[in-house]
């Protein structure tokens, strides 16, 4: 370690220098605070031992200046006059520790060892935080369109606050990605982000998942279980598909959001929790409020700050950028040679309306990388319905074209069979038969 000794007494400087050098440390000594500050400005030190009482500038003032210049420096103050007052002053000023002259060799040895361990732990902590940031960073939100730039601006703005956020947008637009971006840019980033898909769980299970339960609260509740709000202590709870929550759970949620306490199922004891909520839905929540399916008070509690993610078809300029981004990611993940899109393939991607949004585009590119054999993604490597999108020059039989067209219409109608049948000018039974024949499947719900 590099140690700086600052003391106006030569005997102290010489003795400590010799003592530390015998331990293999590199030591500089200064006879005044001014000289010590000059040495510090010239090079970095790990530990500095500073005498409290020196002519000119005293140790406390020097300590404050050193700490301001190099926050990583570990400062130990030395004094010949032991008093509680001076010890308190030293520690309040931010010194790592305080030692009284003359030192017991064991005390100084332990102090230096402890300071070295402390520095190493601090450095390790910083390294781990850095790698945690890298590991937990969400995939980048790609987009050059004005709409996406606005979304990114809103994310940065709201991340700096603790406001509740409502993220809206069609399925596959990346609502969870937005939630993760907000969490990782917020001061809560070193605490958990807990994701709950409210639409995937039956009412009773969701209640227990969110708020926890006590042992014996219901059949099968053998042990106490902490809910997601408690699990997210200090962090963020992402409530996906909030529009699907039952009226009873809505009441409970409202109470938790208002009071910041949860009561486990089967318990009467409220538990205070510290969390931030980000909710998301692909539904028209104000419409659900009008229908009486969603509580208005809960809506307003969630709708503090809204971020609406536009569907991909409304920002076609993002398609090539996203497609290239996914292509690079999948070729890397599959250890494939770098690939590029042929102009025809890129044109097909641009023309397709992407009813499943970014998720559908991502799946299409992944499929193309799996199927692709050369260095270019050709139209034939894309899903047939993408390749056969109106205006694209994709090849395919009449049946393939029909399948692709039906898939596209279903997609744009949100798989509303009646509406799709009207668009296609066939009856519902015919459409169902074609869906079965072509093995078309509704894209999974969710953001």
């Amino acid at each position: 370690m590099k140690i700086l000794v600052v003391d106006d007494e030569a005997i102290v400087r010489e003795s400590l220098k010799a003592w530390f050098e015998q331990d293999g440390h590199s030591v500089d000594a200064a006879e005044s605070a001014k000289e010590g500050l000059r040495l510090c400005a010239q090079g970095r030190y790990d530990i500095s031992l500073v005498d409290m009482k020196m002519p000119g500038m005293d140790g406390l003032e020097m300590q404050a200046r050193l700490a301001a210049a190099d926050p990583d420096l570990t400062i130990i103050l030395m004094t010949a006059y032991a008093s509680v007052e001076s010890a308190v002053k030293a520690m309040k000023a931010g010194a790592y520790d305080y030692i009284v002259k003359p030192f017991d060799p064991d005390d100084l040895s332990l102090l230096i060892q402890r300071a070295a361990d402390h520095r190493s732990l601090r450095a390790e902590n910083a390294r781990l935080k850095k790698s945690l940031e890298v590991a937990s960073a969400p995939p980048p939100m790609v987009g050059s369109s004005g709409a996406m730039k606005r979304v990114l601006e809103l994310v940065a703005t709201v991340a700096a606050t603790d406001a509740t956020v409502l993220v809206t947008g069609e399925s596959g637009t990346g609502k969870e990605l937005v939630a993760r971006a907000i969490h990782t840019q917020s001061s809560r980033r070193y605490n958990p982000l807990v994701v709950v898909n409210c639409g995937a769980l039956p009412e009773g299970v969701l209640e227990s998942e969110l708020f926890g339960h006590e042992a014996g609260a219901f059949t099968g509740a053998r042990a106490r279980h902490k809910g997601k709000f408690e699990a997210a202590e200090g962090g963020t709870v992402f409530l996906d598909e909030i529009g699907e929550v039952s009226p009873r759970v809505q009441v409970e949620l409202l109470r938790v959001l208002e009071e910041k306490v949860v009561t486990r199922v089967g318990s009467n004891t409220p538990v205070p929790v510290d969390f931030r909520v980000i909710a998301a839905t692909h539904r028209d929540l104000p419409g659900r409020v009008k229908e009486g399916a969603f509580r208005e008070d809960l809506f307003w509690r969630l709708n503090v700050f809204t971020i609406e993610i536009p569907p991909l078809r409304e920002r076609p300029e993002d398609i090539p950028l996203l497609a290239e981004h996914f292509l690079e990611r999948f070729t890397g993940a599959m250890s494939r040679r770098p690939m590029r899109f042929s102009p025809a393939a890129l044109e097909a991607l641009r023309r397709y309306p992407w009813p499943g949004n970014v998720r559908e585009l991502q799946n299409a590119v992944e499929r193309a990388v799996v199927l692709g054999t050369g260095t270019a993604v050709e139209v034939g490597d894309l899903p047939v319905h993408v390749a056969a999108a109106p205006g694209s020059s994709g090849p395919g039989s009449l049946a393939e074209a029909e399948k692709a067209h039906i898939r596209m219409v279903l997609g744009t109608s949100g798989w509303n069979i009646s509406r799709a049948a009207r668009t296609l000018d066939v009856d519902r039974v015919t459409l169902y038969n074609k869906i079965r024949r072509y093995e078309l499947k509704r894209p999974e719900n969710g953001s």
Partner: protein, 194 residues
């Protein structure tokens, strides 16, 4: 103490009893030391306690002043080893077991805190003698330009308490032994107990 100076040639060890150290105890230490080094170890005339500077306000000899005095008296190609039954310290430390400058020509060792009696325990002359040899060899290691070693069982490990003196035993680790001059390797060889 001091910079990492090159070791000076050493052909003899001169043990100087300081204060009331019994001649027999000095002879015993010299004999034990002779079995660990390959050069003669001879006991010289005692230095009276009154001739040594004390630390103001403390019942201790000033190890740094004593060391300077011995270094000034050390003949060429010899080491002066001052051994005292008195407690020694330096202004910045409450006590030291010994004192030597890296590459220097003299060393000081205090037997006071190596004696079990110092801690209110029954006398243990054999244990005290083993500790004294350990401390002397440690200081001689510094004279041979060695620094403190991280290996807690090595003679060059820093001992801030008598318990640590006991833990570090009486042998240099292989790494330190490899850097010792021939005179300190002794007839027994590196890394072995006498």
């Amino acid at each position: 103490m001091g910079a990492n100076a090159p070791p000076r040639p050493v052909r003899a060890l001169h043990l100087v009893p300081i204060g009331s150290l019994p001649r027999s105890q000095a002879e015993d230490l010299a004999a034990r030391l002779s079995r660990r080094v390959s050069i003669p170890c001879q006991v010289l005339a005692s230095l009276p306690e009154a001739a040594v500077a004390r630390l103001p306000g403390r019942d201790q000899l000033n190890a740094d002043a004593l060391l300077r005095d011995l270094e000034a008296r050390a003949p060429d190609e010899a080491v002066l080893l001052g051994v005292t039954p008195l407690d020694v310290g330096i202004p910045i430390f409450t006590f030291v077991f010994g004192r030597a400058r890296q590459g220097g020509s003299a060393a000081v060792v205090s037997l006071a805190r190596l004696d079990p009696g110092f801690y209110g325990l029954p006398p243990g002359p054999e244990r005290a003698a083993r500790r004294a040899l350990s401390e002397v060899l440690h200081e001689l290691g510094h004279l041979a330009s060695l620094r403190h070693c991280e290996d807690a069982s090595c003679l060059m490990h820093f001992a801030a308490s008598v318990a640590q003196v006991d833990v570090r035993g009486s042998a240099f680790c292989a790494s330190c032994a490899a850097r010792l001059p021939g005179w300190l390797l002794g007839p027994v060889g590196p890394g072995r107990d006498p």
